[in-house]
């Protein structure tokens, strides 16, 4: 129910003339194209490194690297073997192993979308290689001494750079986190981050004084900051991607839903219409029913509220239209909850509509006005006109089902002949919220 508008009586009417926008003759109104989407630039595939399925010694890292860099496999193997033997080269090898997809994967990898170096581009690749080199170099340097203190942050930064660059690229192009949510990945990332910091601090502060340990913590924090700066754009893009993916899915779902609905309703009706093309009345009824149904689906936004006058009316009108194949133009103003009396009125109105459909002719118009002190309903047809005395067999029915019903709930029903047709007028005084029991 609409509330009464608040307005001061007697005050000046609040209105203004809407500004008319004059458009000079010969010039159409400015018309931006609303849905023009700039074409997305196709990003060329960077060369991707894969671990070949065949010709591998351990995990195919060297073979893949050799193929990717265009170097003889033996050279690469020798270089990597030296690094591994030196110690920390193992880390580099494992890293490359984890981050490089298998050759057989690569076709499915686009859909599989793992964290990998494959789309990271040459830059990331070179950083990775530099990192492997650094790991090797540090292992050769004496374990004690300040050199390591300087090298470690560089090393960590290099790792971060590789991971950051690789994932950023993947996120951008493949939306690898278009899964349910990016949070598990973020949690993994945060966990890794903490592990890196703690590990670094513990390793480097072993056997040093508190002051030195403080320096290391500071250095770690700086590294952490660098980490954040590196990852911030990526994380933002990631969140954006997740939102976009969700919207895309919602759209797809909705489209599927609409398609299903159209199939169940419109297509079925069209098939029926084609089969019964000869029967004009039946076709008109089918079209009308389908129209109403589709209209409810498109504009109604859900099911009809059965607890109100308008909801009950919609149902009654549907029923009469389907039963008789006559379109009924219904207009309802105002609304009210459906109590016993209103229910009786709706039933009487249904009888009046049926009467109009049986004896009258189209167009049939129904108007229901729900005012503060009474409800009025009008049913009008364009038939030859109902003569109560002339149709004795209907007389009892009409008297009982329309007039009797209305009288019992304290209202009344009148019928009158118009130049073409008949009009029923049903009136029901509205009882106050507190039941007075009066009629």
């Amino acid at each position: 129910m609409r509330g009464l508008p608040e307005r001061t009586l007697g005050g000046p009417p609040k209105w203004r003339r809407p500004a008319r926008r004059a458009v000079p003759v010969g010039e159409t109104c400015p018309v931006p194209i609303p849905y023009a989407v700039p074409p997305t630039a196709e990003v060329a595939d960077p060369p991707r490194m894969v671990r070949p399925a065949h010709g591998r010694v351990l995990a195919g890292v060297c073979a893949g690297l050799a193929e990717h860099l265009g170097l003889p496999v033996a050279w690469v193997r020798g270089f990597v073997a030296v690094l591994i033997l030196a110690g920390p080269g193992v880390v580099g090898y494992i890293l490359l192993w984890t981050l490089t997809p298998q050759e057989a994967d690569s076709a499915a990898a686009t859909a599989g979308q793992r964290w990998s170096l494959r789309q990271a581009g040459p830059a990331a690749m070179w950083i990775g290689i530099a990192m492997v080199a650094v790991v090797g170099a540090t292992s050769i340097l004496p374990r004690s001494g300040r050199g390591l203190g300087l090298l470690t942050p560089i090393l960590i930064l290099a790792i971060i750079a590789v991971i950051g660059l690789a994932s950023a690229d993947v996120a951008q192009r493949d939306r690898w986190l278009g899964r349910r949510s990016g949070w598990p990945a973020l949690a993994r990332l945060a966990g890794g981050l903490i592990a890196v910091v703690v590990g670094t601090v513990v390793t480097l502060s072993g056997g040093t004084s508190a002051a030195e340990a403080w320096d290391i913590v500071l250095a770690t924090v700086v590294v952490l900051l660098g980490f954040t700066l590196l990852l911030a754009p990526w994380v933002l893009r990631l969140l954006h991607d997740v939102g976009e993916a969700r919207t895309a899915r919602a759209l797809a779902d909705e489209r599927a839903d609409i398609a299903a609905h159209l199939h169940d309703s419109v297509l079925q009706t069209l098939a029926l219409i084609q089969r019964q093309a000869g029967d004009a009345t039946r076709v008109a009824t089918l079209a009308r029913v389908q129209e109403r149904e589709l209209r409810t689906y498109l504009y109604g936004g859900g099911s009809v509220d059965q607890t109100t006058l308008s909801g009950a009316l919609a149902e009654v009108i549907d029923e009469v239209e389907v039963a008789h194949g006559i379109p009924i133009d219904v207009v309802v103003t105002g609304d009210c909850p459906l109590d016993e009396h209103v229910q009786a009125m709706v039933r009487a109105l249904r009888e009046a509509l049926l009467n109009a459909a049986n004896h009258g002719a189209a167009p049939i118009a129904a108007y229901v006005e729900c005012g503060p002190d009474r409800i009025e309903a009008f049913v009008r047809d364009h038939g030859p006109g109902l003569n109560l005395d002339a149709i004795p067999e209907d007389r009892l029915g009409v008297r009982e089902s329309i007039q009797g019903r209305m009288t019992r709930v304290g209202g009344n029903a009148k019928v009158r002949r118009l130049e073409p047709g008949t009009e029923w007028t049903l009136t029901l005084p509205r009882v106050a919220a507190a039941p007075t029991g009066g009629n």
Partner: protein, 232 residues
Amino acid sequence: MKTAPAPTTPVRVVLVDDHKMFRTGVRAELTEVAPGLLDIVGEAADVDTAIKVVRAELPDVVLLDVHLPGGNGRGGVDVLQGCVAVDSRRGVPVRFLALSVSDAAEDVLAVIRAGSRGYVTKSITGTDLAAAIKRVADGDAVFSPRLAGFVLDAFGVAAGEIAEVDEELDRLSQREREVMRLIARGYQYKEVARELFISVKTVETHVSSVLRKLQLSSRHELTAWAMGRKLI
């Protein structure tokens, strides 16, 4: 104020609808029910073509679909705004009659407030449509029962609000209310006139006055109602 066309001059009409089948249907129907009275001088399927055709042909009446492609994406409203202050060959403003399958209240309100002289649904019969076009060409307003119901509801008439003076823009006068109620009940203008013991001309005056209030009133319920409720 109103310049009635000489009975021999056919009303020049432009059809704007994005469904070719519908345009063909309307054209055939109008030619059949009102031969010689209506002259369909142009057709358009989108906003930009519509504005061009209207400016080139300067018709008396434009039958305007509410939903059209092109323009700013607001369909009929864009056409109305693109044709502001365009006069027909008879020297009166080009009149628009909105025609739609959509009974969504915000659509009704939008085209009426943008300047349409009336609103009918596509289920209207050919005869009624021809009569409506004639009426709009004469500068009168055309209300379907549904539009009348909308007016009654949005102006709070059902809740018992009646203007004390006719000029009040936010409410309907007693007489306007009666006219609207009869139209909502499915009465033709001449039946309304007979019922209220007034002339058809007076009925037309009342309807035009309601149209003016609908276009100019800043009554917030109009929009609120249109947004909050969608006609069945």
